[in-house]
Amino acid sequence: MSGVDVTGVAKSYGATRVLTDITQSFESGTFTSLLGPSGSGKTTLLRIVAGFVAPDEGSVRIAGADVTGVPVYARNIGMVFQSYALFPHMSVAANVGFGLGRRGIRGKAARAQVEEALEMVRLPGFGARHPKQLSGGQQQRVALARAIVIRPDVLLLDEPLSALDRRLRQEMQVELLRIQRESGLTTIFVTHDQEEALTLSDKVAILDRGRIVQMGRPAEVYERPRTKFAAEFLGDANFLTGIVRAGRVEIAGAAIATEDRLPPDGATVTLAVRPEKIAIRPADAAGSGALENSLPATVASVIYTGTALTYMLRSGDLSLKVFAQNSDGSPLAEGSAVVLSWAARHSVSVEG
């Protein structure tokens, strides 16, 4: 069964097109991240699913029912806001019980469900406190409890972790994942943090200027980015542009191999290569013949970060970046000649 279906959704504010023809299924019980830079339309898409924004075109179905014309309050959604939006004049229990009250669940039954939800977010017995008395992380948990206690058809999270500091954020990521797995809720999570999206999601959807450019499992999207934007926004990438010649791509005098299907000879293509997939060795060292591609280069600069090294290199007109483990503690010197090599399956053909 399908959790949320968005079909042909478009939205403009005046002359600005925010979303263009979005068609996407969010499967029941999955955790999907909408990942994109600010202005990519990810929040607008979330607010269209929630019902705060009406799409200009297209339809939204939640749990099989068409809700396009249904106002927010009749949609049975659970939403966690960036600022948590806890009601400051109500106790934690009243906050969590708010949605139950709207569904006619009051008294003993409501109290039991509220306590159960608070236990789920590991805040048992916090019901009598006021939001002001809670830390940022605790407020976050209450907001989550408030959203899940009503057993919504879809849980919508609008950058809920962005206000927390780094350590708390990592802790909450683990909690969020556990709660989502335990509750089995279809979850849509908006974020601009690529690491967060990779860690949490079953599926990642990358948005660029109002379109979903790629959606898939995190590893799939990371290893096989479909566009330059996807490759760059999720992780780091070297882009090698060259001309197809006999099943290979000619770049800086070398013929680069790829396992992707290539257009006919003479066409221009761009290959993306992740910096950590490239092996680097001095030009005079013995070669590792196992890797299909090799490219001579010169070290332009080295950035030393302790556990890892980042090499900035030049090969002809090309600038490249390579991540290497700091395994022997002596980085290659600037200006030294090196050979870069990587496997054919790590040259990923991407669209401009």
């Binding site: 029912a65 014309g69 249904v70 106002p71 309050y73 009749a74 949609r75 049975n76 709207r102 569904r103 006619g104 669940i105 058809d153």
Partner: protein
């Protein structure tokens, strides 16, 4: 709440009021009231200013522009206008200097609760009855008033320093009335200046007067201008302060206009003079609207 419920026990979607109707319903009472009590009266007054005489009884209505020639026909009005302008400029100027200095002292020499308390103390008199405050000055500056008593305490044969019923007395009362405005607007403007900017200037070798005139005054200019407008506009329309503190000297545009409505019963002339004053007010607003908008934005 109605018993009809939709899916999952939620309220069903019902036909709602169109949004524009709800907006209109919210706005109508206030704006109808403002129209009745302010906008229509101003319009009516504008119409009156083109009449020859107050329309009483069966007198025929005669349209004329003569009221707007008053400054030409009654040259003494020019003198009155000049007095009003001078009072306005003196009041605004003194308020600017004293108010800016007070705001600066508040921002740079006090902090925390003390600052908050001092600010409230400065602003509090502003929200008390202006008439009563003006009246209270008469007790201080009249001949044999508190000022004289105080001075003669040290120097028993001192001549009277009382200056009630003079133009400086009017200015004093007006400064007292409107100073808090200037303190507040300058305070807000000065508060937003980053300490680091001042430290940067000092690190570049600026002395205090350079910091004051090259950094603080220019950055607080929107506050000074806002304060000046908020003071100048009501001051040129003042009539109660000149009456009480100026006595026979206190003839200003404000008192002349008031006379037309309460004594001379020449409403058309009063209306024309009021609209001339309004034109001056609007000109002041228009000239400085850019500065006002900028200070409102921050």
């Amino acid at each position: 709440m109605p018993p009809e419920v939709g899916a999952a026990g939620l309220p069903a979607t019902r036909r709602r009021m169109p949004p524009w109707l709800a907006t209109a319903a919210l706005l109508l009472p206030s704006y109808a009231w403002l129209t009745l009590a302010v906008l229509l009266p101003l319009t009516a007054m504008f119409v009156f200013s083109f009449l020859h005489a107050t329309p009483l009884g069966n007198k025929p209505v005669v349209w004329t522009l003569e009221q707007y020639r008053a400054f030409h026909d009654q040259p003494y009005l020019l003198g009155v206008a000049w007095t009003s302008l001078a009072i306005g400029l003196w009041t605004t100027g003194i308020c600017a200097v004293v108010g800016f200095a007070a705001a600066l002292a508040l921002v740079r020499a006090t902090a925390g609760r003390t600052r908050e308390t001092l600010l409230i103390l400065v602003l509090l008199p502003f929200w008390t009855n202006g008439l009563v405050r003006v009246f209270s000055w008469t007790m201080v500056i009249r001949e044999g008033g508190f000022l004289d008593v105080f001075v003669r305490w040290f120097w028993p044969s001192a001549p009277s320093l009382g200056f009630l019923y003079t133009t400086p007395a009017i200015v004093l009362g007006l400064v007292h009335g409107y100073l808090p405005y200037m303190v507040l607007t300058c305070y807000i403007a000065l508060l937003s200046i980053d300490d680091a900017v001042i430290e940067a200037a000092q690190s570049l070798g600026a002395r205090w007067w350079t910091v004051l005139f090259k950094i603080l005054v220019p950055l607080a200019a929107p506050g000074l201008v806002t304060g000046a407008i908020l003071i100048f506009v009501p001051v040129i329309g003042a009539f109660m302060e000149p009456r009480i503190l100026g006595g026979r000297v206190g003839v200003t545009m404000g008192t002349v206009i008031e006379d037309q409505f309460t004594q001379a019963f020449n409403w058309p002339l009063g209306s024309a003079l009021a609209f001339t004053m309004l034109a001056v007010v609007l000109a002041v607003f228009a000239t400085f609207s850019g500065v006002l908008r900028r200070s409102a934005a921050t």
